[in-house]
Symmetry: C2
Subunit: 391 residues, 2 copies
């Protein structure tokens, strides 16, 4: 067996999602049955201080060789780094990912990819022009569960899929008209592109897209007609958004919902049932939530009344540390693409990321949600406060 | 105990729904615990022939005194009839209900009430001007189950309700691009105001409205913003419609869906779960389908993880014939309203029927569905073919 292909990562930002992802990067690929690729954490950067980056590397138990940087500029200049994982809030993604691409680095950029569709297009143009790999980090798409579900649909197991409903709602009502996030929190703060849709609704849309749009044959892809209802929070961000994406030519509709007040799973035990229903002419595939990290799906067939095929897809855990969140699968995809010279992933092509950003942008526009110029501009500025951390 | 109030019915049309309703009228009210009102079937009319009406009366086992008419005009002129049950396709409702009101009869009119909101308004104006009782026959609202669910919501059992999703989809895909209805069938025939929304989607909207709009306090009622996606069948009728009704001031959203191709209940055993999810800040009420005739609801509370309160609400059946469909409850409501001098039902006020018609009209307009002038006009014509049965 050939030696595994090694991908060397630089982690841009040191918050919660950076921590989860990096710990997954450091998990032994063999534990998930992966032997053809491996990951190295080469460096991490905080825009505020080198100490913070060092603390981060210590916390995730990165190798002692990993370098700590106090600026994103230093990180993207590191010649030992192959790919940058952009782990900032989505308000920052465009500027941070541009910084990395302009420095000649491949990029895995957290979702939501950007704040506007124009920003997403600009990033992709840049990646294409520079011959760099670029991918939106919608980790759920790379779950074996997602792959199985897509394959089931392709196999015709539930006939033709005409409708998918998907919800990710976390139940954070505070009971006093507010939700359980401080107004400055990224979930509700317009300055950070806050709101339910870009943070949570992207997962509902992921299920709508990977079961409808993604499976439309090449050459028959149909950009959806998007309509949306938005409930605005007092900060101006969306606290609840419901979107219908209509594909008239395919006679299919997707309904993606998200809310900060109600919950897909009110009792936290999935008692309420599936978060996702993929409805075909011959049956239905139900995916138990949460939509971002599903562990079980069920198949109900019209011709097998009362029978449910239940399939569990656990995330492999490290037997010693107990760690394993399922973000490693998207990292493996990055490694394989780079190994094979592919600039984009077939599982989430550039074009599809842009269409999804267009849907979200239209939804927010229909709902009258507006974000500030600093985070919506598609003019790259290496000295943007979003890149320097300075006000 | 006082003698029960007796309501004397005239049945306008002799099709399937007329049969079900009339057999329910003839069921012993005591079997459902009702002793204050009773129903008499006085007459029935077919627009095509007296024989057809006579056959109908024989089939439903109406009393031998019941009169058979070969025209709607004769029926509405019968002085023994208090109230007309309009059981024609919804294409005919406006003209038929006007015929009855103009003849001075109270009216229970099948759903969907009309084809346009203007028609609904005209009917209500006429009923008001003439001091007649008028009600849309959305029978599900009068189910004890519906009453219990509304009371549960009012009691705050699941906190503030912010979102309701409701689906009625019957799974009639034929596998060859068509659905299992002949193009002339009322389900898909634009000449009969065919399509999923007016026939099935009205029930999805019923759940959205009775759990959101209906429970908004008087004086705080908020007409929704309606957005809809429509998939058109080759006949021009809608084969699938998804509607979001947004109540921004109440921060609530309702999502009502219907489809002829996929099914709420693909295996016919409710294995797929609830048809309706009423989502509050503290929990969720789930109603098992079909949305028009639900027999069970479940309550999931945030503070009782893993516990589901399951409440069965069977429809009382005649122990001898086995009959009982649950349409008698709306008939009882008509009798009580008339007994008490009320012209409209508090459970489905005129104003609410109009708002729902406005929502459906907007949805179909957004989807580009058009119906012919004959069935959309709001000019009453006693000699309309819809009243005479003549072409």
């Amino acid at each position: 067996m050939a030696a595994p292909y090694t991908l060397r990562w630089g982690i841009l930002a040191t918050g919660w999602i950076a921590e989860v992802f990096t710990k997954d990067l450091l998990a032994d690929p063999a534990l998930r049955g992966v032997h053809d690729v491996r990951h190295e954490v080469v460096a991490a950067a905080s825009s505020s201080s080198k100490d913070r980056a060092a603390d981060f590397l210590a916390k995730v138990k990165a190798p002692s060789t990993a370098k700590a940087y106090g600026s994103y500029h230093e990180l993207v200049a590191d010649p030992d780094v192959d790919i940058i994982y952009v782990a900032t809030p989505h308000s920052h993604h465009f500027q941070n990912a541009m910084l990395a691409l302009e420095a000649g680095k491949h990029v895995l950029c957290e979702k939501a990819l950007t704040v506007t569709a124009a920003q997403a297009r600009k990033l992709i143009e840049t990646a294409r022009a520079k011959g760099l790999f670029f991918m939106e980090a919608v980790w759920t798409r790379y779950f074996p569960l997602s792959i199985q579900v897509r394959n089931l649909i392709k196999s015709g197991a539930i006939g033709t899929v005409y409708r998918t409903t998907a919800d990710l709602s976390l139940g954070n009502d505070a009971g006093d008209g507010k939700v359980k996030f401080d107004d400055a929190h990224r979930m509700v703060n317009p300055a950070l592109a806050g709101g339910a849709l870009l943070d949570l609704g992207i997962y509902s849309l992921t299920w709508v897209f990977q079961t409808l749009y993604h499976l439309q044959p090449e050459g028959e892809k149909e950009s959806p007609i998007t309509i949306a209802a938005v409930t605005k929070y007092h900060t101006g961000a969306d606290e609840a958004t419901s979107i219908i994406v209509n594909f008239p030519r395919h006679k299919s509709q997707g309904i993606a919902t998200t809310s900060l007040r109600v919950s897909t799973d009110p009792d936290g035990q999935n008692t309420a049932g599936p978060a996702i229903r993929i409805q075909g002419s011959e049956g239905e595939i139900q995916v138990m939530g949460p939509a971002y990290s599903p562990l079980q799906y069920r198949v109900i067939r019209r011709d097998s009344p009362g029978k449910v095929e239940v399939v569990d897809c656990p995330i492999p855990k490290d037997p010693i540390t107990g760690w394993g969140q399922g973000m490693f699968w998207e990292a493996d995809e990055c490694a394989r693409c780079l190994r094979d010279g592919r600039k984009e992933s077939e599982t989430l092509p550039w074009e599809e990321s842009v269409v999804i950003m267009e849907v979200m942008e239209q939804a927010l526009r229909q709902g009258g949600v507006e974000y500030p110029e600093l985070i919506t501009t598609d003019v790259y500025d290496p000295q943007s406060p979003l890149n320097t951390g300075k006000r």
